[in-house]
């Protein structure tokens, strides 16, 4: 009697080869499903569904697809279009690019000549200094956007400066931040980068109140969580912008959101960003290109076209965990921007899944 009970439960375990079966079944082996008949050696030995899944993952997996930059179809393949394309290349590199560099340089000169005096001279008048610095940062971002001939359409109500609110957005490239910053001076939480970007981060972005983190340090998370909480409480601080994916994704998919942004106890305002690939693919494949190269690529393309949607603020519903909240917001953003959702953690780009995940499966 006892052994056939054991048999029944084990056959229901083995025959249900759907993924995430632990979500449907209570833990433990005492499960009474409808009787499935006797377990035969054949059923036990047939591991083909699991093997098929493994082979499917080897052949093509949804995680790698998130980070593939698909080159656009070449349209310059015949005798009429090719010279036109060559002319376009010359135009872009020899005329448009230098003009853009000029524009950008002018922008920087104006910015630095205003920012540095304001920063040092107005040390006593904090509020005034901060609001001027904010406008200056917004201005330099507009210059950046202009330097790629950025056409950005903003939809929805502009962010307002209120305490206890955070903004979350999907992440495609570092320029997401610039595009959003041009409209409102946000404080961002970012990975500290090396090189000239790092220099910019520690000087100018410091003034808007940015927070730094380090992906590779484990303890870092608690420190950052505390800093986030402090920032959100302050009424004077710039609204906080977080990219909960944690890494750049290729604008066709969204990966799992990290729950850190969602357990701060404030309203979350989702922002969806979608780039139009016709003119340039804005995805920054940080493995393949440095940021400088990426910027140069953008500056030598025709335009950067994107849509930004400011969506309705969401709060934690009663009885909802932060993870469910994060998923709900990801849903909202993905639907608005037309992105597909993928159940993987973006950080798997940098490390491998632990055996824990395998056990769960």
């Amino acid at each position: 009697m006892n052994s056939s009970g054991v048999l029944k439960s084990s056959s229901s375990e083995l025959d249900l080869d759907r993924p995430n079966i632990e979500d449907y079944l209570p833990s433990g082996a005492a499960i009474q499903q409808e009787p499935r008949g006797k377990l035969r050696l054949h059923d036990l030995l047939d591991i083909s569904p699991t093997l098929s899944e493994a082979a499917g993952a080897i052949v093509d997996d949804s995680f790698t697809r998130c980070f593939k930059s698909n080159p656009p179809e070449p349209w310059n393949w015949n005798i009429y279009l090719f010279p036109l394309w060559c002319f376009g290349v010359l135009l872009r590199y020899l005329i448009v690019f230098p003009t853009r560099v000029l524009v950008l340089t002018i922008g920087w000169i104006i910015f630095l000549s205003s920012f540095i005096p304001v920063h040092f001279l107005l040390k006593g008048h904090d509020r005034l200094r901060r609001s001027i610095e904010r406008s200056l940062v917004e201005m330099i971002c507009s210059f950046f956007v202009a330097s790629w001939t950025g056409v950005v359409r903003y939809h929805g109500p502009r962010p307002s400066r209120r305490p206890k609110q955070v903004f979350v957005a999907n992440h495609t490239s570092m320029i997401d931040f610039i595009v959003l910053e041009q409209m409102t001076a946000f404080a961002v939480i970012m990975q500290k980068h090396p090189g000239w970007v790092g220099l910019l981060q520690s000087t100018i972005l410091e003034s808007v109140g940015c927070i730094w983190f380090n992906r590779s340090e484990a303890k870092d998370r608690e420190i950052v969580a505390r800093k986030l909480r402090e920032h959100v409480q302050g009424a004077d601080n710039n609204p906080l912008l977080i990219f909960p994916e944690g890494t750049c994704v290729n604008n066709h998919y969204t990966v799992m959101f990290k729950k850190g942004a969602f357990e701060l106890g404030c309203t979350v305002c989702p922002v969806a960003i979608k780039y139009n690939k016709i003119f340039v693919d804005a995805f920054w494949n940080s493995r393949k290109q440095s940021f400088t190269k990426h910027l140069l690529q953008l500056m030598t393309s025709w335009a950067v076209v994107c849509d930004v949607w400011y969506l309705e603020p969401q709060s934690l519903k009663p009885g909802e965990t932060p993870i469910e909240f994060a998923e709900r917001v990801r849903d909202i953003i993905s639907t608005r921007a037309g992105l597909k959702k993928v159940p993987w953690d973006g950080y798997l780009k940098y490390s491998r899944p632990s055996p824990k995940h395998r056990e769960r499966k």
């Binding site: 833990s27 035969r40 054949h42 569904p49 093997l51 493994a54 082979a55 997996d61 491998r352 499966k361």
Partner: protein, 175 residues
């Protein structure tokens, strides 16, 4: 990456097709070559087994360790031969042979009670205790006419799994 199938000549594709006994079409082989190049990060024509663990979907599969044990590392021909069992064009016998190789951990042509227990352990993890697993396996073996100490060879596997229609396929994306 550019058009990588240009690195694979028509002759190469035909040779590989021959090697896997025409389990894949030429387009599928070209597509798999792109996939191989993508996985082969060091561009040395050889993927060590644990490179596959960087594919999250593969790493969370319960049988990933057994599969990696089967081969020491792949060059492209071995990659295709390995995957050929999952082509819709491969024979039932080929698929059963593959399953047999997964079970036969010490590659001696015989599957023992312990081999089957190992795979069962990988699949069920914490859901069954070791004792339950042994009991179930022993019971099922006896009902099929074997004992705990008998070794199963390939022909036994053919007999047991041969009458069913085994669905073991992975679709190769062809763009």
């Amino acid at each position: 990456m550019g058009n990588t199938s240009s690195m694979l000549t028509q002759y190469d594709i035909e040779e590989v097709q021959q090697h896997c006994k025409h389990a894949f079409t030429q387009q599928e082989i070209a597509s798999l070559y792109q996939r191989f190049c993508h996985l082969d990060r060091n561009n040395c024509g050889f993927i060590p087994s644990d490179e596959f663990l960087s594919i999250p979907e593969f790493a969370v599969n319960p049988l990933s360790q057994s599969l990696l044990r089967m081969l020491d590392g792949f060059n492209f021909k071995e990659f295709i031969a390995f995957l050929s069992a999952f082509s819709p064009r491969s024979t039932l016998q080929h698929k059963i042979e593959f399953i047999f190789k997964v079970y036969d951990t010490d590659c001696n042509g015989k599957v023992s009670f312990d081999d089957m227990l190992t795979v069962l352990r990988d699949l069920t993890g914490q859901y069954m205790s070791e004792h339950q697993r042994k009991e179930v396996l022993a019971q099922v073996l006896e009902e099929a006419g074997y004992t705990k100490d008998s070794f199963l060879v390939l022909s036994d596997f053919m007999k047991i799994l041969g009458n069913s229609d085994l669905k073991m396929e992975a679709e190769v994306p062809v763009d």
